[in-house]
């Protein structure tokens, strides 16, 4: 308590009047500084939380590359890579067969459309069918060899897995102080050099099978004479035959690749990074080889966001223009809250709406005949990128609308007056003065809308169709109507099932990091754009 009382009452003077009063200060804090510390602490806590999240993401994700690298090394050591070379050849053959079948279907339905009876149409295609069948069967020797090799390689990989597990188990027992039990665990290292000999030994057999394959392929091509299809389809047939010939010409390359393949060739260090960033496959829990390539998910996320923005940007911006420039005060008072209320709808409710109503109605619409010209219609899947995109657009509209409306309202009134005073109409004023003057504000509104949709999870998980594959962009806009999976969706879907610490778990964290960096980048760019906008308006 005040201890100045003990000293004699001082004279009144400026020097005394301005001196700080001595008060009781818990922990040496005055009320002012305590309040300051409190606010400081709150701000620091928010930043600390952000840092912790980043550290956590990085810590959990960082192990991924090491594990992925090991996985890829075993893929090579156990000979899976070798077998995949042959499988790749077979896959390309399967593509060729599919093309032949697709062509047959086209010719057949064309004949029906021209009034031919089904039997007659089938009979006319007898020659083609014989060719297609021979084409399909040409690969059977190579295929049976490949399936034998697949089993061998998979068995090697499994033994390696058992060996790794046993080492882990031993280490665990030793840590627990049970050295005796640890010694009892049998662990036999896999001798890849010996195992791989069985695979390499198959090369002559493969060469024989391959020669047979090429012979059969050529024989089947000889069957496809000009009479096997109606004259109008000859160009397509020769296109198909040319593709088959090009394919046959790659056989020596495949053989050379197999001959040159070495199980002990080192895996370059960057392989596990590129396999993640540019990998076109996300394949988990497979008996063969797991691949963690982010590309299908990344493209899925981008495609869904693109659709959402294509819908939300015109709607949001035009609504903002209407509210800020055209609507009367009465309209404003209810349009603005109504649009902003959309943001309050829980995303799971929107997703539910998408599954139950929107997907179904979109498909019904796509099946109407007068919309048949739209690429991708009729939709084959009820839930696809477009369904999810529509709902995401709905969620992005309030964000884009509010920010765009702010940007437009912040354009100084004197720009508008100057334009009107020069005899511009309202529309001219909006398009030539207000929109350009608020352009950076509008762009940042769109960017933040983009940030909103790319991070959205529930709606895409429920409505995007969840097929992990890169959409077939050869169909043009039809790609919009294919099911996709997204980065957010995959984390939400798979995180609950993975073993913590496993490569799959870490791969999901890596996806999370990519998503985090993307959102960070978008927000950063948006902020920079807004800064520029403030400066340009002055």
């Amino acid at each position: 308590m005040p201890d100045s009382q003990s000293t004699p009452a001082p004279e009144r003077s400026v020097a005394l009047a301005i001196r700080k009063e001595k008060r009781f200060r818990p922990l040496g804090l005055t009320a002012d500084s305590a309040i300051r510390r409190f606010f400081q602490g709150n701000a620091a806590f928010a930043i600390l939380a952000l840092v912790l999240i980043m550290v956590f993401l990085l810590r959990e994700g960082a192990g991924f590359f090491g594990q992925n690298s090991r996985g890829i090394r075993v893929y090579r050591l156990a000979g899976l890579e070798y077998v995949d070379i042959i499988k790749g050849q077979l896959d390309r053959h399967a593509e060729l067969t599919r093309a032949a079948n697709a062509l047959r279907l086209k010719i057949y339905s064309d004949a029906l459309a021209k009034g031919a009876a089904p039997q007659a149409a089938t009979a006319a295609l007898a020659g083609f069918d014989a060719f297609a069948e021979a084409l399909g069967d040409a690969s059977e020797d190579v295929r049976s060899l490949a399936s034998d090799l697949t089993e061998q390689a998979a068995a090697v990989k499994q033994r390696e897995q058992i060996y790794q597990d046993s080492i882990e188990q031993k280490a665990m027992l030793i840590r627990a102080g049970k050295a005796g039990a640890a010694a009892a665990v049998s662990s036999v290292a896999v001798d890849f050099g010996r195992e791989i000999k069985a695979l390499s030994a198959s090369l002559p057999i493969y060469k024989d099978a391959n020669r047979l394959f090429a012979k059969k392929l050529n024989a089947s091509l000889a069957m496809a004479g000009p009479q096997s299809v109606p004259a109008a389809w000859t160009p397509q047939l020769s296109g198909l035959k040319a593709a088959a010939e090009r394919y046959a010409a790659t056989f020596p390359e495949v053989e050379a690749e197999l001959a040159a393949w070495r199980y002990d060739a080192p895996v370059p260090w960057y392989r596990s990074v590129t396999a993640f960033l540019f990998g076109r496959q996300w394949l988990t829990a497979s008996f063969w080889q797991d691949w963690y390539g982010i590309i299908p998910l990344f493209i899925g996320s981008l495609l869904v966001s693109l659709i959402a923005l294509l819908i939300a940007v015109p709607l949001g911006v035009v609504a903002a223009i209407y509210v800020s420039e055209v609507a009367g005060t009465g309209e404003k008072t209810w349009i603005k809250p109504a649009i902003e209320f959309i943001a309050a709808i829980p995303s799971v409710v929107l997703g539910f709406f998408g599954v139950a109503i929107l997907g179904q109605s979109l498909r019904a619409v796509s099946e109407t005949t007068w919309l048949a010209w739209v690429p991708g219609f009729p939709m084959s899947e009820r839930l696809n990128a477009f369904t999810a995109g529509c709902l995401l657009a709905f969620m992005a509209i309030p964000t884009i609308f509010s920010l765009a409306e702010d940007a437009l309202t912040n354009v100084p009134r004197h720009f508008k007056e100057a334009s009107f005073a020069l005899g511009a109409t309202r529309l001219q004023t909006i398009l030539r003065v207000l929109v350009p003057a608020s352009l950076s504000g509008l762009i940042s509104a769109i960017l933040l809308g983009f940030g909103r949709v790319i991070g959205e999870t529930m709606v895409v998980l429920l409505c995007a169709g969840n097929r992990i594959a890169i959409p077939d962009f050869t169909q043009g806009l039809g790609a919009f109507f294919q099911p996709v999976h997204t980065m957010t969706g995959i984390i939400a879907q798979e995180m609950g099932e993975v073993v913590p610490g496993s490569i799959h778990y870490r791969a999901l964290f890596m996806v999370g990091i990519v998503l985090f960096l993307l959102a960070l980048g978008i927000n950063y760019v948006a902020q920079r754009v807004v800064q520029r906008y403030r400066i340009s308006i002055g």
């Binding site: 004197h414 720009f415 100057a418 334009s419 005073a421 020069l422 005899g423 511009a424 109409t425 030539r432």
Partner: protein, 249 residues
């Protein structure tokens, strides 16, 4: 040129102008003076119907005639009216575009696309606003890079580019330094030959220097209007004399 007959004007419920009656002759500079809130700017903004942009404004009674046509007649197109009656604002307000685009704007919104024509008009208007020599080498740089006085002359150039008959100026020099003000006043003097000019000003000396007629407003009423020399040397109303001599306002 402009005739105002018994004009009452309202912002919502409050009346801003009471029974204004005045005539503005052609090719003269008419100054509106009076203390803040006396309604002089409001009256000025009636002449090109800029008040239409403000919610809740309305004309109570009376008319405004320009060359005998009531500008509130339903047959009058407000867009065309504003092309005839240009305006320069208190705060210079060039668009955040290039100098060229600023001047060409008024023509472009009329649908003029011919590049040659636009270039001619831009040069003519900038010469008319005594700005050409200063900016001819940077027509395509941002207008916001000009000084305050240059920006205001740019706004005048922009107004005359659409060839109006009347130019309204709402305290055009209030944000300018004395040198820039002198240039604008000189310009007003030049423009008088081709345009009818109405200028609102707080600056007595300015009204004295550059106007032919002066109208003094007080509390929404026109107190006195006449030749500038007469208003300044020998006003009829004591209120006018008090204001001019600086006793109030």
């Amino acid at each position: 040129m402009i005739a105002v007959e018994k004009l009452d004007f309202f912002y919502g419920a409050s009346q801003a102008l009471h029974g204004i009656d005045l005539r503005i002759p052609e090719n003269r500079v008419t100054a509106f003076i009076g203390p803040s809130g006396c309604g002089k700017s409001t009256l000025l903004r009636c002449f090109n119907r800029m008040n239409d942009l403000i919610d809740g404004t309305r004309i109570g009674s009376g008319r405004i005639l320009i060359q005998g046509v009531d500008i509130h007649d339903p047959d009058v197109d407000v867009i065309s009216l504003r092309r005839q009656v240009g305006m320069v604002f208190q705060k210079s307000n060039p668009f955040p575009k290039s100098i060229f685009e600023n001047i060409a704007y008024g023509l472009e919104v009329q649908g003029v696309k011919n590049r040659r024509r636009l270039e001619e008009v831009v040069e003519k208007s900038l010469r008319g606003a005594a700005l050409w020599e200063e900016v001819k080498d940077r027509l395509h740089t941002s207008a916001l890079g000009l000084s305050g006085g240059q920006q205001q002359r740019l706004c005048i150039a922009r107004a005359i580019a659409v060839e109006p008959r009347i130019i309204l100026m709402d305290e055009p020099c209030s944000a300018l330094d004395p040198i820039a003000t002198a240039k604008v006043e000189e310009l007003i003097h030049e423009l008088k030959r081709s345009y009818t000019i109405v200028i609102v000003t707080h600056n007595m000396q300015q009204a004295g220097r550059c106007s032919d007629l002066t109208a003094f407003f007080y509390l929404g009423r026109l107190v006195e209007m006449g030749r500038t020399e007469k208003i300044f040397t020998n006003p009829v109303q004591t209120q006018t004399e008090d204001y001019i001599s600086g006793r109030f306002g």
